[in-house]
Amino acid sequence: MKKRLLLFLLGIFILVGCSAKSTDEENSATKQENPEAQTGQLEPETVFSMEFSEDYTVDIWEINSSDTGDSLQFELKTYFERDEEFFEYVVFNENGGIDARELSPQEKWKKTAAQLFYHLMANTYSWNV
């Protein structure tokens, strides 16, 4: 039987490209190995990343961008030991990714805040951050 790995979530956030030193370094290394000018291929910029143990199954869906592309929202579901958890993340300019529930200034409105954000992003581009 395959031995189960230690069950913990590693390094929850490795945050946003332009502000995170490690990500900058990785991007820099990538550029040296695979420069866009040489291959003619576009080089993506990482704006958000999360690292999970292989014991997790992670599904991401419903990415929505703001009008300017400075911000995005997406939904993420994790499965671990047959339990699933649902997250909704919002990535701002330099704020990194935050759980949409944290957008609410009041505890009792956290769920509503997350739902509202989903609708705003999924249905309109009427916000700019």
Binding site: M1, K2, R4, L5, L10, I14, G40, Q41, L42, P44, E45, T46, V47, F48, S49, M50, E51, F52, S53, E54, D55, Y56, V58, I60, W61, E62, I63, N64, S65, S66, D67, T68, G69, L72, F74, L76, E81, R82, D83, V91, F92, L103, S104, P105, W109, T112, A113, Q115, L116, H119, L120, N123, T124, Y125, S126, W127, N128, V129
Partner: protein, 544 residues
């Protein structure tokens, strides 16, 4: 309350809100001028509330569209300024575009003609709405798998032009940006399709992706990605700049332009019964089922129970034998024991899920167990080359699950001998050279024996193959359809045919039967419902 993310402060508060259905109001959007758009769940009612003037307008889509079928809004899309609203009703009608200023409602892409032509349900899927409400994308497809017809439709609401494609070789379509562009994914390639220019360009980036999202201004494309890192995996959101898109290479559209008028007027293949030949069955179904039931006696079963169940049901299939311990009939307090005859599962690697822990080794047998927070428990082990999986709720503790597992012994007879009573089994099959391969023998203490026999592959009809599932029961089944079309079938007191489900339900005075024909819509339309009904009736009449 409206919170401004940029100012990081509350910019509007509504201390009181009165609505008879406020608990089922979904907040859909807040416009730039602080109007709030709300939708009542599971209905066609929506509200536009101006927070500045306090003016509240309520609408019912079915009244706006003058269409009683538009009585349920599945999903609502809004333009950025809140002036155009797009409704997806998923009721087999159409999309509805509502202009808030003129209060005009336009129906788009009606699917009724497709539903009528193919005699099946059609719906819109993957609806996209551009930020200014000018462009719309929607897929029209038969509901369910293996659609008989589907088209991909791009609409310019200003010109009224609808461009429809079939054989659409893109597995993902993004949102629409403010210029009318959409990102499309095909294989490991990405493309941008301009709806106003009807032009495809190739994005110079190769990777098979699951998700795409364009920024509203079309300057960026967001993608998801995941890569291994040591023993972990990194999930990322990445951004591609499309600022140089005008320099990208023009590509061909991987789809064929469809003519909606012609596609609806094309004749479907004439109905024919030629492909519905019934073939004599050359095996003894009763003997085969008896052999399978008796062979189960050589398997290992639990012999004692830490807490006695109210009753135990047994199910024998071609590859597994199940014991279901029922403790509370309506509380779903059950434990299912599955003993797998398939030799492929005879090793621990194949039998035991990775997320279980080794809790005990007794007489060389390793017992793996896990109690999950969802009240689900699983214990697995391999005994004498047989894989045993026990799944159940918190009816037993971990020690009790282990006690149940260590009571396993073989050579114990099943509680009853198989009994067919006066059940009539088919003697003819739509499948030539048919042999009994997939079946269920179900014994319930309360109801006795039930049987399920498959002719063909009822769960794999995508290749146009026909299959029939045969069910028997001693008590009236839950789905016995005595409101369907009544038909005459020799040898039965009652017979009903449901042309939607293609099921023939029968009662012969002692037993209930169902003959269920399974096929995709194209095959059904080619064969014709009347021919299928007659085939099922013939199978039933020739049963003995």
């Amino acid at each position: 309350m409206i919170y401004d993310l940029e100012k990081e402060e509350i910019i509007h508060e509504e201390p009181e809100w009165s609505d008879i259905s406020s608990i089922v109001l979904e907040l859909i959007a807040i416009t730039d001028d602080l109007s709030v758009i709300m939708l009542e769940s599971f209905s066609d009612r929506f509200i536009i509330y101006d927070t500045k003037t306090k003016e509240r307008n309520e609408y019912y889509l079915s009244k706006l569209a003058d269409n009683p079928d538009a009585s349920f809004i599945f999903r609502m899309h809004t333009s950025s300024d809140g002036k155009k609203l797009l409704f997806d009703t998923r009721t087999g009608t159409g999309l509805f575009l509502f202009n808030v200023e003129t209060e005009e409602t336009t129906e788009l892409l009606p699917v009724e003609a497709f539903a009528n032509k193919y005699n099946t349900d059609f719906a819109h899927e993957e609806v996209r709405f551009s930020p200014d409400g000018t462009f719309i994308y929607a897929k029209i497809t038969e509901v369910g798998n293996d659609p008989v017809y589907e088209s991909h439709n791009f609409i310019n609401t200003e010109t009224g032009e609808v461009r429809s494609f079939v054989d659409f070789d893109y597995y993902f379509v993004s949102n629409i940006d403010e210029n009318g562009n959409m990102a499309l994914a095909s294989g490991d390639e990405l493309f941008l399709y301009s709806i106003p220019n009807d032009q495809v360009i190739r994005i110079p980036f190769k990777k098979h992706l699951n998700l795409l999202a364009l920024s509203g201004n079309g300057q960026y494309l967001f993608i998801d990605d995941s890569e291994p890192k040591d023993e972990n995996r990194v999930y990322s959101m990445k951004k591609l700049s499309l600022e140089q898109a005008e320099n990208f290479e023009v590509a061909e559209m991987k789809a064929s332009l469809a003519d909606r008028e012609n596609s609806l007027s094309e004749e479907t293949k004439a109905a024919s019964s030629d492909e519905l030949n019934l073939h004599e069955i050359n095996i003894d179904i009763r003997q085969k089922l008896t052999d399978a039931w008796n062979a189960a006696e050589n398997l290992y079963f639990a012999t004692s129970y830490p807490k006695q169940p109210k009753y135990i049901d047994y199910t024998v299939s071609e590859s597994n034998v199940y014991q279901t311990l029922v403790f509370e009939e309506f509380g779903r307090e059950e434990i299912e024991i599955k003993v797998m005859r398939d030799e492929d599962f005879a090793s621990e690697d194949m039998c035991v899920d990775d997320d279980l822990d080794l809790i005990e080794t007794i007489d060389g047998i390793n017992y793996y167990f896990k109690s999950f927070s969802s009240s689900e428990n699983e214990l697995s082990f391999v005994i004498d080359g047989q894989c045993v999986r026990i799944n159940g709720e918190d009816v037993y503790s971990e020690d009790q699950y282990l006690s149940l597992a260590t009571s396993f012994a073989n050579g114990k007879p099943l509680p009853v001998a198989i009994d067919f009573g006066s059940i009539k089994f088919p003697t003819v099959s739509p499948i030539g050279g048919w042999d009994l391969e997939t079946f269920l023998i179900i014994y319930e203490e309360e109801f006795g024996f039930r049987y399920v026999v498959d002719f063909g592959k009822p769960y794999d009809t995508a290749d146009g193959q026909l299959a029939v599932q045969f069910f028997t029961a001693n008590a009236e089944p839950v789905f016995y359809n005595d409101t369907a079309e009544q038909v005459e079938v020799a040898g039965y007191e009652q017979a009903f045919f449901n042309e939607e489900t293609l099921e023939l339900d029968l009662f012969d005075g002692n037993h209930y039967y169902t003959y269920a024909a399974k096929m995709n819509t194209e095959t059904r339309n080619n064969l014709g419902i009347e021919n299928i009904k007659n085939m099922l009736i013939q199978m039933a009449e020739m049963a003995e």
